[in-house]
Symmetry: C2
Subunit: 482 residues, 2 copies
Amino acid sequence: MAEATKANQTNDNPSHLDQKMNLSTGEPGTETIASELAAIFGDRMITTEAGCAPYRKDESFHVARPPHAVVQPENAEEIQEMVRWCARHRMPIVPRGAGTSLEGNCLAVCGGICIDTTRMNSVIAVHQDDFHAVVQPGVTRRQLNNYLKGSGLFFPIDPGADATLGGMAATRASGTNAVLYGSMRENVVNIELVLADGSLIRTAKRPPKSAAGYDLTRLMVGSEGTLGVFTELTIKLYPVPESILSASCAYETMEGAVSSVIEMHKYGIPVARVELLDEHTVGAVNRYSKTDFAVAPTLFFEFHGSEQGVREQVELTGEIVRENGGSGFVWAEMMEERNRMWRARHDVAYATKQLRPDGKIWATDVCVPVSRLAECINETRRDIDESGILAPIVGHVGDGNFHLLLMVDHENDEEVRAAEALHRRMVLRALEMEGTCTGEHGIGYGKLDFLKAEHGDAIRPMRLIKQALDPQGIMNPGKIFE
Amino acid sequence: MAEATKANQTNDNPSHLDQKMNLSTGEPGTETIASELAAIFGDRMITTEAGCAPYRKDESFHVARPPHAVVQPENAEEIQEMVRWCARHRMPIVPRGAGTSLEGNCLAVCGGICIDTTRMNSVIAVHQDDFHAVVQPGVTRRQLNNYLKGSGLFFPIDPGADATLGGMAATRASGTNAVLYGSMRENVVNIELVLADGSLIRTAKRPPKSAAGYDLTRLMVGSEGTLGVFTELTIKLYPVPESILSASCAYETMEGAVSSVIEMHKYGIPVARVELLDEHTVGAVNRYSKTDFAVAPTLFFEFHGSEQGVREQVELTGEIVRENGGSGFVWAEMMEERNRMWRARHDVAYATKQLRPDGKIWATDVCVPVSRLAECINETRRDIDESGILAPIVGHVGDGNFHLLLMVDHENDEEVRAAEALHRRMVLRALEMEGTCTGEHGIGYGKLDFLKAEHGDAIRPMRLIKQALDPQGIMNPGKIFE
């Protein structure tokens, strides 16, 4: 227990809430806090410096102070007890899944108790005829898809990392095939969660649609743990497509690539993935993955459907891409070929890393109306080139969403400042074009500055909701709002 | 102006708020209220009893007291002025579109000012490449689709009535083709609205997706005017399908019909409409529309897609329906045949009315997981038959959503009580089956009783949000919450 106090003393960002926390002795006049928590969690409570250290990070470059303690609940009741305890002690609560967030969303910037949900990883029910799965929040998307093998159903949302479904819902995650299947916004049916006062609610039952009262489900999706801790989710499943085909195509210009996608949408082609790699990314991919894609703006497509339907989609897409200056449109039917292409796409981060082994990746994303995407990417590209920073671009072009992978030496202040300025210009450019400061990573604490720039006066009702549901401000403080 | 005072004196439901309202003299110590409003709205303000009378009703059987006054703003600034005035005087505000709601959603149950948005009926912009339309709230769905003619785009959501898009968003409306295109929940990109304090906010910009902050758009969709008055909406459009085919099919059992739809979903058939009519409805339709559908549980299908894709959908559906005991599967390619079938479906209310000319239709809806739909309909059917009340069933079976059209003589107390009991049993049955008390009509004040039964403790955060955003309770009071 002494370790926790020690961790407390070595905080990076001491907070006024620290004085509330002394796991070894408890507050004056209260029972011994540590023994209270130990009575609930036993050895599923971590208070040592070494044990808490991994919780200082997510998959981004952000590093925060460690939480005061980590607990690993196994059911909703334990989360309720933990939240009630934190409410009594005005202690921050930081929910965490697989820790794959990219904006510090699950870091204990104000200290407090990290609720690690990874032990709550049971699939509770699959309602085959309703295309619903009921899961605990710590189930990861791959785990769920393994569980579903042989059922004819799958869960499509794929943010790259093997994130937990609770975390994906909390950050309103999406990924490569949101263009067909939507993001977590469209794919969460209901959420059971513990509110800041320790009460347990369910946002809805399981009807395919409802007009009964406020849409609490959608309010909770994307709330990043600032309104409650998720204890169970019902999510949508989809039939495994009979046929899957992939294709790739190189373009002379970014405009040609984006126009192709707009055209495909006009023809009602239900493309399942359409990923954009700029020429710098393709170069890096070729070197790392030993592929030989033409070094030019490139689209990777994936089509889902019946055998006949998919062939029709591919043929029509072939015509559209040629009309838009695309060349070398080749499609890959074989699983092996397809996997090779998509593995190359998934390994973009590693390929980028190899470009500059001394740098660290700063992954960021924005999203704009598709009509502005080519312009936004081109201006950003020019800005990157002028800045001298290495930063490949990849995008979920069907959604107007693209990522910048800034390779930065975080020890080099000048470089960090240049990257920050570049980042800021990109975000403001996206907002200028009626876009958003983040398509799928969330605000966390990495994008606090931009929420106001994006939403203006609409921040006020957001804050009012936060205050109404969490008057003490104990739920993941320092995230979304400053 | 004397008329308003008179209307005030003849209220059906006098409210404590009435004392605040005296349009002819104003409150003691304040300027003359009527002249304040007249200065803004001129002859776009209605205060006469005769002028206000039509606003006592919507398309349901509900009748409320008239509003104290009706104003017809032409822009957001006028709505802001009206809301600020109401906030100063603690006067209820009741937003209203085409008045086609079915649960009294737009009636002035507590009196107050009705904000009639029908003059705000401009299509502000169509972003062709983004598939977005920006509209004022008083634009109706037919008006928008007429405007879009020739553009290759259309707005699919079709609740039957020619509702305004503001009203549709406010009640989270959907209709016959939500199974493919979603409800208003999925089809509103952002909303500009006036909050209870008169401030004007926009819930989002126009990115296809975003992870930046709370999803205010989804919170406002379905809020039934209780959180603000909509002044502008951006909504999604879709490419007009190359080909449309319709089909119908009769079943021996309700289970066969529902199983067909589940099976179609498993095969990934993207059916655009799939409507269920029970045998009573088919009988009424045949008599009214001079059709000759077999008097049995019947499905009407519509398929959208490419020519080849639609044919494939129809063929596969034909196989599925036969395996599930469907017979007489016939498809209608010709526009005329298709229109005849869908007109018959749209005229179900008139057909029902003809069954009992002395009755009035009480239209209500519930929605359950599709796996429970056949059971829910069958039990409801048995209950109806035992009650002796005439009540055809029609349903959007792909969504698990069905409607009961109760034909009731509202002068006959015993009959009304029997209908109410039947209605209550149907709603509680749907809730028991993990469904909702309303799939698409909203709570209004007709279903106040059931919100708590459906949401339990989740009512509390809903109320906290309401109080936070509308502390005086002036926004459409008496709706959603008691």
